[in-house]
């Protein structure tokens, strides 16, 4: 089956070839083949296929790939608009700040919302 593509020209993914060390981790973790290596440097191949999950930036050791990650879930957006908290679910609206080891900061609990 053909790949399902969501809205065009909306994603916040950025790749900076100058900071890339060519390790290829971002390509490995991407579920939608968005990135490739061109001359051993990261390149955005398929921007509209990106779902902003943040796996690439999380696993980039040099910060060459960045994205405002979050879960594309309307129910979560609505819940956060209504100021509702953690109703039995798994979605986060605000992206995890930065990458590396300190995920799940306490203040993020207030942004858990219901869905999935």
């Amino acid at each position: 089956m053909k790949r399902l593509i969501y809205l065009k020209d909306v994603v916040t993914l950025q790749a900076d070839p100058d900071r890339c060390v060519g390790c290829g981790m971002c390509l490995l973790v991407c579920p939608h083949e968005v990135l490739s290596l061109v001359a051993k440097r990261v390149h955005v191949d398929n921007r509209d296929a990106c779902m902003e999950c943040g796996a690439c930036s999380q696993n980039c050791p040099t910060g060459a790939v960045t994205v405002d990650s979050g879960v594309g879930c309307a129910a979560a957006v609505i819940n956060s608009m209504l100021g509702r908290e953690s109703s039995s679910c798994c979605c986060v609206i605000e992206p995890k700040k930065g990458s590396g080891s300190s995920a799940a900061l306490p203040e993020k609990d207030s942004q858990r919302t219901g869905c999935c």
Binding site: E52, D68, V71, G100
Partner: protein, 353 residues
């Protein structure tokens, strides 16, 4: 050191290691496991379907056996062990609060910190000689492989997206093919998500339906209950048909319905459904009341269906947050406006002769 409890229903025996007595599990699921999976697919006890975090032994693993990391949502855990049929391995279960791999990774609970802590608290380093962990690829949003290596000494190898590809991945020397790394959203994958969506919509409908039925009794030429049995029950039928369009047809027909925005897909399916429902009832345009009632449901059914389809973005495997926000900027006001206008018209139709 914290070990998972032995007295969990799926534990069959134990293995003694340098880090204590580890529960032994089987790769064969029992009817109890299948029944549990069926229930959570229908939203029953879904938020409380978990296994104890910590280290488990699948079969009879030795000090060189592979270590697989998963979430403590039992459906994830069962999926992993079932796919490793005929193999022995260690399974390290993280405390993801009973949430699946992808969603907990997005939230950060399936994350670097929890993984590093769990490696320590399980005593994994005393159980195996090697220093390699196999993680599901979809844990990527939560785990920074380079940070795990630095903090724990364990190397993270991302396995395939689907656990069912694990045997092929292992046989290829822990190499995943491109197809194994690609997220899909097949018809079958969409169908299994329908029950949960349906149950949650029907819970709201159970409150709305009696209200609509009673409102249908108001006004009109006949007595209250005679009105309700005609207009009230039609309202309930319309509500249910909107749920069928938004929660069943939209996920099922997702790739084939025109439009990229889920709301648009839901809107189209809602329009078609509304037309089918109204024409099969036999449109009565001979008086104002009938025309207004028809117009009301032509607005309401697509509005409800579009809203429900929009919410399916949360279950999909390819929608970005930026995209969902963009879609919602036009879709949500439209859905609310059509909903309010439709409801207003319907109430008016009750009082127009």
């Amino acid at each position: 050191m914290s070990l998972p409890r032995q007295q969990q229903p799926f534990v069959a025996g134990s293995v003694t290691t340098g880090s204590g007595t580890i529960p032994r599990i089987s790769a064969t699921l029992t009817s109890r496991d299948h029944w549990g999976a069926f229930k959570v697919r229908w939203g029953i006890k879904r938020m409380d379907y978990r296994v104890d975090p910590g280290l488990y032994a699948l079969g009879s693993p030795d000090r060189a056996a592979s270590v697989f990391v998963t979430a403590n949502y039992k459906l994830s855990f069962d999926c992993l062990r079932e796919s490793l049929h005929g193999r022995s391995a260690w399974i390290l279960v993280l405390d993801t609060k009973g949430i699946n791999v992808w969603c907990s990774a997005g939230k950060g609970t399936f994350g670097t910190d929890e993984l590093v802590d769990r490696i320590k608290s399980s005593g994994l380093a005393q159980v195996v000689d090697h220093r390699v962990l196999i993680l599901p690829q979809l844990a990527g949003p939560g785990v920074a492989a380079h940070a795990v290596k630095k903090l724990s000494g364990f190397e993270v190898v991302y396995g395939p997206i689907r656990a069912t590809d694990l045997p092929a991945f292992l046989d290829a020397g822990k190499k995943a093919t491109r197809a194994m790394r690609r997220g899909t959203f097949t018809t079958k994958e969409r169908i299994v998500l329908i029950p949960v969506e349906l149950v949650s919509a029907l819970k709201t409908a159970a409150i709305l339906a009696p209200v609509l039925y009673l409102l249908g009794g108001l006004g009109g030429p006949r007595g209250f209950w005679a009105n309700a049995s005609i207009h009230g029950s039609f309202a309930v039928l319309c509500l249910l048909s909107a749920i069928v369009a938004g929660c069943i047809l939209a996920p099922l027909l997702l790739p084939w319905v025109p439009g990229r925005a889920f709301s648009l897909k839901g809107l189209i399916l809602g329009m078609i459904t509304a037309l089918i429902v109204e024409t099969s009832r036999g449109l009565d345009m001979s008086h104002w009341s009938g025309s207004i009632e028809s117009a009301a449901w032509l607005l309401l059914i697509p509005a409800i269906s579009a809203y429900l389809a929009m919410n399916f973005t949360g279950a999909s495997t390819y929608t970005s947050l930026s995209g969902v926000k963009k879609e919602m900027r036009w879709a949500l006001p439209l859905e609310i406006a059509a909903g309010v206008a439709g409801l207003g018209l319907w109430l008016v139709s009750r009082f127009v002769a």
